[in-house]
Amino acid sequence: MVPLSAYVAVSAVLFITGLLGVLIRRNFIIVLMSVEIMLNAANINLVAFSYYLESMAGQLVALFIIAIAAGEAAIGLAIIIVVFRGKISTNVDEMNLLKW
């Protein structure tokens, strides 16, 4: 029997990996991929708690998270296409039009 803390540990390691990716990578697409890693880590957590605490709510919230991740990917990639059309770069450091 796998203990619940093993699942939570896997989820924590994945979440920190994704967070590190968002912080250190400068390619916009890879930053979005790191966000997907973090969402997946949250899903593992929700499903593991749903199984061990015998409630369906965790799986439903995980489903909604997947739907929201799909919307986020579509919008993010559309923004990448717009930015890439204007200036040929996907480096997040060079997108500073809204920075003050």
Binding site: A6, I16, I29, M33, E36, V47, L60, A62, I66, V82
Partner: protein, 174 residues
């Protein structure tokens, strides 16, 4: 047996996650992300969540990842030399220390809590998809509708954003 599969899925998903962050070429990162998503779906199988397994494979690996790879192929990719944050070394040590601390807390914690109303035996009787469907269309109907509206907004937003802009016509000079 479950322990063997759990170890395999957990280790491969962590390695694939690290590769997604660490590889240099974005297409390789996308393929590592594919490995991560498939192994996370394996973890869902171990947790009796077959419906989420199917959704993960269809939506994540089938739709979202293909969208990523499509955009990667659409754009002429140049891997720039400076592909890390300029001060990434300062992030690494606090992140490693923080993760070790969080892991030590997690492995000590008992995680007891109030039990819900869906024990494993009852879920396995009719299948996970049945249980998810009954719950979703009774208690979570409002959230379901909200997600539908959200997805419609996301689709419209993506189309409007990615549309080719019309050249600006000077209306005064007619």
């Amino acid at each position: 047996m479950v322990l063997v599969f759990f170890t395999y899925f957990a280790l491969v998903s962590i390695v694939a996650g690290v590769m997604t962050v660490a590889l240099k070429h974005p297409v390789h990162c996308g393929l590592a992300l594919l490995a991560l998503l498939l192994h996370v779906s394996g973890l869902f199988i171990l947790l009796n969540a077959e419906f989420l397994w199917a959704v993960q494979v269809i939506v994540y690996a089938g739709a979202i990842l293909v969208l990523y790879l499509f955009v990667l192929m659409l754009m002429n990719l140049k891997t720039d030399d400076r592909y890390l944050h300029s001060s990434y070394r300062y992030f690494l040590v606090p992140a490693a220390l923080g993760s070790v601390y969080v892991l030590s807390l997690l492995l000590r914690s008992p995680f007891a809590g109030a039990r819900g109303d869906a024990p494993t035996v009852a879920v396995l009787q009719d299948g996970d998809t049945y249980a998810v469907g009954i719950k979703m269309f009774s208690e979570y109907l409002l959230q379901f509708e909200i997600v539908g509206v959200f997805l419609l907004g996301a689709v419209i937003g993506a189309i409007v954003l990615a549309k080719t802009p019309k050249p600006i016509v000077d209306k005064r000079g007619r």
